[in-house]
Amino acid sequence: MAQLDQAPGSGSGFNPLEWLGSQLGRLVVSVLVPGVLFVVLWQGFIFLRDSEAPQYLIAIIAIVWGVGGAAALYFVSNWIIERLGPEWTRRLQPFVFVGPAMAILAWYLAIPTLRTLWLSFFDRTSDNFIFLDNYIDIFTDPNLIVVFRNNLLWIVFGASLSVILGLLIAVLADRSRYESLAKSLIFLPMAISFVGAGVIWNFIYEVKDISAPQIGLLNAIWVGLGGEPQAWTALLQPWNNLFLIIIVVWLQTGYAMVLFSAAIKGIPGDLIEAARVDGATEVQIFFRIMIPYIWGTIITVATTIVIFTLKIFDIVLVMTGGRFGTEVIATAFYRQNFTNRNFGLGSAIAIVLLLLVVPVMIYNLRKFGEEEAFE
């Protein structure tokens, strides 16, 4: 309807036929273009699903189809919107821009969260409503209590070690001539997958019989010092968890270090110089000036690492598969859903994980509020 006000040609008077023709043409084109796009994308999907073509060909087509398809959808929907006249363009364009993102977020995060909450009140097959029974199970089943104990170990040792080591290295490297090389080496594990890290560390923890040469680095050192070969990740529960935690400390200390390093470089040089002139020792400078100055960064890094540690999954799955008392929340969740097929209990575990993260969510929202107020 909005087209009416711009339809009549200038001066020549209103010609209904011509108007209809031009509108019809527009309409046909407007339907045709998205239609063609849809058919092309659909054919691509069918091809990728069923094709027996050589793999490199599928790879190229898949990438072009996926990447190009997403961009083409925006072009076409914007193209349609812009034909509706300025008024409607102005009204609808924001939704063309923001709509796909919102649809995907709703589909993949918001609605599933609600559905998981709903499923957590049902039994293993999702047929009978049992309300809080799954949650009662979580907090009474001894196997599941071990899971929470382990996650606590992960947070207490994993998160704090990463933060402390990251801070220490950042401060020390800041005074070293080889700063960037040292930082690259420590940061490097960030690029390694958990599965890859699992192989690397399994190899370090490898145990052989006392009569054979030890090929695992840790046992080689241990036996060299006169000890018996140990199966580090299986014995001495719950402390075997620490050997898994070390891996994650190795992986994420670099992350903490980089953020701390940037924060430390933000401390005004004058401030530290003034303290030195007043006779402060380096240790005093560290605790009285650096720590308070970068406290905000420390909190941010710590919360990020705590969330990350709460959700730890791959390392445990690859290293022990959750055996020997090393199960954590995310692996327990995976086992309930995909091995035991207990969807109710699995969902409840996911909800508990979410509840543990909520305090951090509130913290994030408050931070956002402050930023808005500034604008």
């Binding site: 890859g196 192989v199 370090i204």
Partner: protein
């Protein structure tokens, strides 16, 4: 940088720096040894690995007979790592580009367009930043089974897109929102539409932010195991490097010559990306929070 600090004599500085340097050296060695051991082992024969520690191989590094690349050829062909490598590329590239496209449009709208519900929607995006992706796995898994998206590339791209979007929108918004207002005013006076402004002005200017998120997402998707296990599965024609490697750990846990070579193959691309674009990666980390 604290380059302007007062300088003492070179000797004094050296003595003061010595303990610091020693500590750094020790830490760096500890941090590098695990990877180095794996890399060295991946070039040793199965027998050598079984009978002696990898460090003994370094005693006579130039004895060419003890080094072999057979592990790599076995892993690439017999264990299907070559296929998995291509599959990883098929998964990772669109899973990086699609969320960037979608997030850039959304971030632009949040930053420079007026529409009802803008603030509320943005708060929802930020809140979703910390929702663990585990929340979504069962419902999406069931949905995928119903609409036959399970085990397809498209399904996995979309899943990675969904899980990556909150961070992508958040990072890109922070960047796009602080572009100078005058830029937009001059473009709009020339009669450009929002779409043109986005394409010609905002996209080119946002390259640094886009690059830093891209590296983040690329490494994340390439290294991911959970999403791939659930949505893509382990069938040989779609399995990616991480799921192949994890299957190998399960079936041949003692075959270190193959596992170390396989692990290195999974690491090659991330390491190249990491070293080539380290600066952007760090910038991305500094720009805000981290993936939820």
């Amino acid at each position: 940088m604290n380059t302007y600090q007062a300088r003492s004599t070179a000797l004094q500085r050296f003595l003061r720096a010595a303990p610091v340097r020693a500590i750094i050296l020790v830490i760096c060695t500890i941090w590098t040894l695990p990877t180095a051991g794996m890399l060295v082992s991946s070039f040793r024969s199965a027998n050598n690995i079984r009978s002696s520690g990898w460090w003994t191989g370094l005693v006579h590094p130039f004895e060419a007979t003890q080094w072999t690349i057979e592990n790599y050829s076995t892993v690439l062909t017999a264990d299907g790592m070559a296929n998995a490598f291509i599959n990883s590329l098929i998964i990772t590239i669109p899973s990086t580009v699609i969320p960037i496209t979608i997030a850039a449009f959304a971030a632009y709208a949040f930053a420079w367009m007026k529409f009802p519900g803008r603030d509320l929607l943005f708060i929802i995006v930020v809140a979703l930043l910390v929702v663990p992706l585990q929340m979504a796995l069962i419902p999406i898994f069931r949905l995928y089974n119903d609409i036959e998206l399970g085990g397809t590339f498209l399904g996995t791209w979309l899943a990675h897109t969904g899980f990556g979007l909150p961070l992508a929108i958040y990072l890109l918004y922070n960047y796009i929102a602080q572009l100078p207002r005058e830029l937009f005013e001059s473009v709009f006076i020339d009669g450009a539409s929002h779409f043109t402004a986005f394409r010609r002005l905002v996209l080119p200017l946002s390259i640094p932010a886009i690059a830093s998120f891209a590296i983040f997402q690329f490494l994340w998707v390439w290294n991911d195991l959970l999403v791939a296990l659930v949505f893509l599965g382990t069938a040989p024609d779609v399995a990616i490097v991480t799921s192949r490697l994890s299957a190998m750990i399960g079936t041949k846990g003692e075959a270190w010559h193959l596992l170390t070579a396989g692990a290195f193959i999974t690491m090659v691309v991330p390491l190249i990306v990491f070293f080539a674009l380290q600066r952007y990666f760090v910038r991305g980390l500094l720009a805000g929070s981290v993936k939820g």
